[in-house]
Amino acid sequence: MIGAAAVVDGFAIALLAVALFSVTMRGLVSGVWLLVVQSLLLALVAATIGVSSGAVHMWAAAGLTLAVRAFAVPAVLFRVLAAVALKRETRPLLSTRHALILAVGLALVAYLAAGRLELIDAFPARQALPVSLALIFIGLLLMATRRKAISQLIGLITIENGIFLAGLIATLGLPLFVEIGIFFDLLVAVGVTAVLTRRINEQFDTMNTDELRRLRG
């Protein structure tokens, strides 16, 4: 049991590092790749807890995480990115350096806040709960300071990952059918946002070509 907890702690720390790293990234493609890494780490956490606790539905959770979060969602995002012209976060509200400082500060706040929350007989991984709160905070930071639709979506998924991690630790996940519903919603959400992103981009493109025409005339 203790061994498994240490492994989960390791994955949790890695998750935090990936989230902090994504704050420093401006490229949208690498942002999505970081999401893939986050999802793989989450699936590993679920699988580790599944092995150590013997809870069968954790395997289902790990499988769903792999299929939906690590594969389907990024696939949709990559397709959108292939269709749009802009591949970088151009004018974020905070410079990369300031955003990183703020993100580290938020992670510290998450550790302080998690220290006050006592979850009796949750999975004994010390780092997981603070990291899940930190993921939620960092996701909010990304959503608040980035302007590109895809970047905001990356922030949103980071928040959801944080909640998912907290769920894995605190209650070994929600009941399976609720979990499936949530995964389904996540998938639809990404699909809908992908449609909207494309439409926004279409309008943006039209605006650009108008400008080109004006310059020519």
Binding site: L156, I159, E160, T171, A189, Q203
Partner: protein
């Protein structure tokens, strides 16, 4: 054998049929809405008359509170689906959307209606969350359906704020599940409403306090409670009008329903004080925030949207005041608001298509331009702003009365309610009279609206009748809802 599952199944089947039969999509959608109106009426009134029922092997749970929301969704959905026929036809004629896309509009409308019916019927709170999230996704696409620049922006804002809000609610749900699985053991039913409500006293108070706060922020965002309401005027204002009707008349109530369920749960664990006071406070803030935006509004549908923020605030405040009278008036007011907002949005949409704009400064002389929608706009405005003898006057009067008889915070809330209502009455009437009077512009669009009088008149007549004499079946209905909402002090 409850008919409740049909309420979700019929719109789902209708959505499939709309996708398959492009030419008949409008008719299929209208027919499905009429079927769900009948079924919804049966389900709702049997829930008011008897004890709570289960359906679909315990997956669904119908009590009087679910019944009220079902009734509201059924009525608003039929108005939206029928009005959509005329509205979409005009939009196609005006080249706002391509004729080939029309069926998808009905598909998404029907999917949204199915999700909205699912919200009050789900026994499992996790699945209720899934249903509410689904409504966000389907309606966000509808908001952006016409692909104008502003509507895309509005849909994006709606989707992102809605999703963040729902993430908070999910975290609250998780804490509730954690608390429940400790109190009740590793039961698969740990998020089932009936189990939770029965065992609420055994849940961990500290956890439930945080859980309720998170859920209030989360579902409160969807319900348009200030200060999380900022997406609402954009989405309700920019959406195609039949969608505005659905959003304002039906969906806000579904989200508020989620808040109310957790309020009952939190009150069962913590006593009535904590969650009632939060509802009271957010309700009062919503009223206060809405007033200035109503006064200086420049867009007709945004005006109505801010009025929705105000009225969701009034309902939350009424539940916060509590007591048999306050809760009765809360249920009554929820019903009244939906009826009045349906008429108002349809009238605004009809006028908007004639003028080709919703800017208040460019809409003048509506009595000449389109007499029936103009008249409905004036009467609807009088009704929603609480002028006697319409029903919202009766419900707001009841809320104020309950407030004055209640604790000091309730008394302060009643004062906010009365002050806010007076200001909104003046502001809305000023804008609306400017629209219907004055001289009409010369350039107008052609937009047909058959059966306008029946559409716009029916809800107003009902509001008038209920204001003077509340029919006994409805009185019993609101009493039953107040019974469900009652919490021990």
């Amino acid at each position: 054998m409850s008919l409740a599952p049909l309420l979700v199944a019929v719109p789902l089947v209708a959505a499939l049929l709309c996708a398959a039969a492009a030419r008949r999509a409008a008719g299929v959608s209208a027919l499905a809405a009429m079927i769900t109106l009948v079924v919804g009426g049966v389900v709702a009134f049997s829930s008011f008359a008897g004890p709570a029922e289960h359906a679909l092997a315990g997956l669904m749970y119908v009590d009087a509170l679910s019944g009220l929301i079902v009734l509201i969704v059924a009525m608003v959905a039929v108005a939206a689906a029928l009005y959509a026929v005329a509205y979409v036809r005009n939009a196609v004629a005006a080249r706002e959307i391509a004729a080939t896309e029309v069926r998808w509009f009905y598909v998404w409308i029907q999917l949204s209606i199915a999700a909205m019916f699912a919200v009050p019927l789900m026994n499992n709170l996790g699945l209720m969350w899934v249903a509410i999230e689904t409504t966000t996704l389907t309606t966000a696409l509808l908001v952006a359906f016409f692909r104008r620049g502003h509507s895309l922006e509005a849909a994006w804002k709606y989707l992102m704020l809605g999703a963040v809000g729902l993430a908070f609610a999910l975290f609250g749900l998780l804490l509730t599940y954690y608390a429940a699985s400790h109190a009740l053991g590793e039961a698969a039913a740990a998020l089932d409403w009936d189990e939770l409500r029965a065992n609420a006293a055994a849940l961990d108070p500290a956890l439930m306090r945080v859980a309720f706060a998170l859920v209030l922020i989360g579902f409160g965002t969807k319900a348009g409670l200030a200060p999380m309401h900022t997406w609402l005027p954009d989405a309700h204002g920019e959406a195609p009008t039949p969608v505005s009707v659905l959003l304002s008349g039906a969906l806000l109530n579904c989200a508020l329903y989620g808040v109310l369920r957790f309020h009952l749960l939190a009150a069962g664990t913590l006593g009535a004080g904590f969650s009632s006071d939060l509802l009271l406070g957010l309700g009062a803030i919503s009223i206060i925030v809405a007033v200035p935006f109503v006064l200086v509004q420049h867009d007709l549908k945004r005006l109505l949207a801010y009025s929705s923020v105000e009225h969701m605030g009034i309902v939350a405040l009424a539940v916060g005041i509590g007591g048999p009278l306050g809760l009765f008036a809360a249920a009554f007011h929820m019903f009244n608001h939906s009826l009045a907002k349906t008429t108002l949005f349809v009238a605004a949409g009809a006028l908007g298509q004639r003028y080709g704009t919703l800017r208040l400064t460019r809409m003048r002389g509506a009595f000449e331009v389109a007499p029936i929608p103009a008249l409905a706009l004036v009467i609807g405005t009088l009704a929603i702003t609480g002028a006697p003898p319409f029903a919202p006057f009766a419900s707001e009067f009841g809320i104020a009365q309950a407030g004055f008889a209640g604790r000091p915070a309730a008394l302060a809330a009643a004062v906010v309610l009365i002050g806010g209502s007076v200001l909104v009455f003046g502001g809305m009437l000023f804008h609306v009279l400017n629209v219907v009077l004055r001289r009409a512009p010369r350039h107008l669009h052609v937009a047909a609206f058959p059966f306008a009088a029946a559409f716009l008149g029916a809800p107003l007549v009902l509001l008038l009748v209920m204001g003077i004499w509340l029919p006994p079946p409805l009185r019993d209905a609101f009493t039953a809802v107040a019974g469900v909402l009652r919490v021990a002090p």
